[in-house]
Symmetry: C2
Subunit: 429 residues, 2 copies
């Protein structure tokens, strides 16, 4: 349940997709690591908030208690701590596992790929953060998915807003998760949840509402730095200064056109500590930019400065920032697009079929195909001793093989091969 | 236990290795499929003989009872049956899981890659079988691992030998597993196991011994076809006819030089029904070919005509033959070779580092690197606002980046960039 087999056309499309992502990660100087699909169970517990209950556990068959990885970030943090690495730029593309309710039509599965790029190390503020946002921009542009928007926010600003609105710190995480729903429901409903379900005072909710519905660009940063209450909050002030610098760098990167400073962005995971971001696809509709809701976010990430320290026996911290490309959702979009276009994807790369026009020539075919393989040419033949020529040419048409190399008695005598262009039905000796 | 993290140098080497294998599989016209890492537990039980106890089970957290895949062959057979596919040439490269005693120095892990190529379908005898053996030959040649030998045998010949030596059919599998040990221990010990532990009569063991110690080429096939007892056995006779045809085809493929018809080859898995083969590395030692025992076999496979039928509700059979490349063992060999050579493998592909010679130039670096990324050039910069030039050049040397693009005040004023060849210490504007 919630998993699927991938037939050749899937794998082919996915490989093309992943190649684009990997090319981008390599363009930014990352090296690849790989970690086991199973982790010690104790390593995963307590890192994912509500997600913890979705972890797949392995049966206790003696030995260590294991679980399947839930994401690639925690294994990366564990890898850094175990190997005492304080400085690394890596990517990791692999499957992760969640016992979630599958929504396969929206591309949500229990086994799915994650494509992560992370920068670990103590550096000057916002330079690696800006590169991660730039990577989201590059990947989505390279994949030609259509228009997109990258929402950016900062955990410290969000916490600052909650603090000045009178939310007790113990309620920060649960309020964040309410705020995070603003991309799916109107403010009125989110407000009802805060007040009705979570017992927040209507006044506090109202003042939160005034902030989290704001979005803009560098101007909004300036406006909030002038905000008498927010600018008094130390956390928020630091966050806003970070945003100012980040937007300066993103301007130099030439990508501010697709950036939105969005105070409602919260991101679910507990481990984020600074800048957070999320990319969504948008459509022009009645002269307005409309989010394409059917797929949700197609990339996201942020800064997590505390996670590595949780795996180090002495608690040594390694600040990190990273980005994850939502390859499964992107795959769903591309798959639908291919389906709609009626385009047929070739699933093999065979260049030539070795064929014979009459019987008793299997030896000639085996010798010729052997020479082609030796020369590095992608070649096939039918696994029949005496196949009909028509069947062989039909196979070429069915599987998209462009050429047939034909040897008959005459060709053997003349020591030539007839090369046939299957689509044009032209032959040369 | 028994798993490992792969640092960048590993992944790099493994990617090169896998690229060679994939290139070969594609050269033979295979398409790729992918299946989930977990299968229904009931699908795996009873397919692996003694291996069944090594299957990793997932905990029962509600829903289906799952287990991690043990190999890629059973999932392939399940895929064919589920989708009613009767004809397919596919490859699959993925990790499999076995709760085995790890022997990490010999490249045996609990999580390891398998690289499988299989041909499913009802075809004329030995044409697909010969192609699988040819693939082993191509992959091992392409990887330049040194000399190798491909041992070939046939399950029906082995069964025929056991039958004419008076072994009851119920003891075929256990006797096969004794015979299989002949590559690791002398005949005397294998004989002791048969007689002492497994209760075979000394006479039966002696006559088995006469057969299973034979190895040769096409001549041996002829000799056995003349053998008065063996040629009377229907199974053995069919097997020998298969071998005759196979060797004819392998001769046309030009690879008989590395083939050995070896009657001791049995292969552990229960599902093989016809031709079986296994490749080992050999060294010239005192004018004799000696197997390199430290790594064991580096590829193997065979025909399994009954497996798909076990997954089909109506028992419909799809004959299959396939090959598995022992990528982990090959990786161990290459890794040792790289270590011995002292060669340093670059783990990134960065072409140029964007650098500045003095302070307050982070904006210039961000603008330049942005242009390089836009142009598809692999570029990095240090994540410091004002790094020292020496540190930046040192980073190039440490990570093998060949070029540095340097912008200082003068270059900005002149609207040029200084390009430095790091190794030669030469600069051009």
């Amino acid at each position: 349940q919630g998993t699927r087999d991938h037939p050749p056309a899937h794998v082919r499309l996915r490989d093309l997709l992943l190649a684009t992502v990997v090319a981008c990660f390599k363009r930014h100087g990352a090296s690849a690591i790989d970690t086991p699909v199973m982790e010690l169970r104790e390593m995963l517990i307590g890192k994912y908030g509500e997600g913890t209950k979705l972890i797949y556990e392995l049966q206790d068959q003696g030995g260590e208690l294991l679980a399947l990885r839930y994401d690639l970030t925690v294994p990366f943090a564990r890898y850094l701590a175990m190997n005492k690495i304080t400085n690394m730029k890596r990517y990791h593309i692999a499957k992760v596992y969640r016992r979630d309710n599958p929504a396969t039509s929206r591309g949500r599965y229990r086994e799915f790929y994650q494509c992560d790029f992370d920068i670990a190390g103590q550096f000057d503020p916002m330079i690696p953060d800006a590169e991660c946002v730039r990577i989201v921009h590059e990947v989505l542009s390279d994949l030609q998915l259509g228009d997109f928007l990258i929402k950016v926010n900062h955990r410290q600003i969000l916490n600052g807003v909650l603090a000045i609105c009178g939310v007790p710190e113990s309620k920060f995480l649960t309020m964040c998760s309410s705020v995070d729903k603003l991309d799916k429901m109107p403010w009125e409903e989110v407000r009802n949840e805060m007040v009705g379900e979570k017992g927040l005072s209507p006044e506090a909710a109202n003042s939160i509402g005034k902030y989290v519905q704001l979005h803009g660009g560098l101007d909004l940063v300036g406006q909030l730095l002038q905000d008498p209450k927010l600018s008094q909050n130390k956390l928020a002030k630091e966050g806003l200064e970070d945003m100012k610098l980040l937007f300066e760098y993103l301007t130099l990167f030439g990508i501010m056109g697709k950036i939105s400073f969005d105070l409602s962005l919260a991101r679910g995971l507990d481990y984020y500590t600074g800048v957070i971001f999320e990319a969504v696809l948008v459509q022009q509709e009645n002269n307005r930019m409309e989010e394409v809701f059917s797929v949700g976010s197609v990339a996201g990430g942020g800064r997590y400065d505390e996670l590595v320290g949780m795996f180090d026996p002495k608690g040594r911290k390694v600040p990190c920032v990273g980005v994850s490309i939502g390859i499964e959702r992107i795959f769903s979009i591309l798959e639908q697009r291919v389906k709609a276009s009626g385009e047929k994807i070739r699933t093999t790369e065979t260049q030539v079929l070795v064929a014979t026009p009459h019987k008793h020539l299997v030896a000639a075919r085996l010798k010729l195909i052997s020479e082609l393989w030796d020369a590095g040419i992608k070649a096939e033949m039918l696994y029949k001793k005496d196949p009909k020529l028509l069947k062989q040419l039909q196979y070429c048409e069915d599987t998209g093989i462009p050429l047939a190399a034909i040897v008959g008695e005459q060709e053997l005598a003349d020591r030539v091969v007839k090369l046939r262009d299957v689509a044009r039905r032209e032959e040369v000796s």
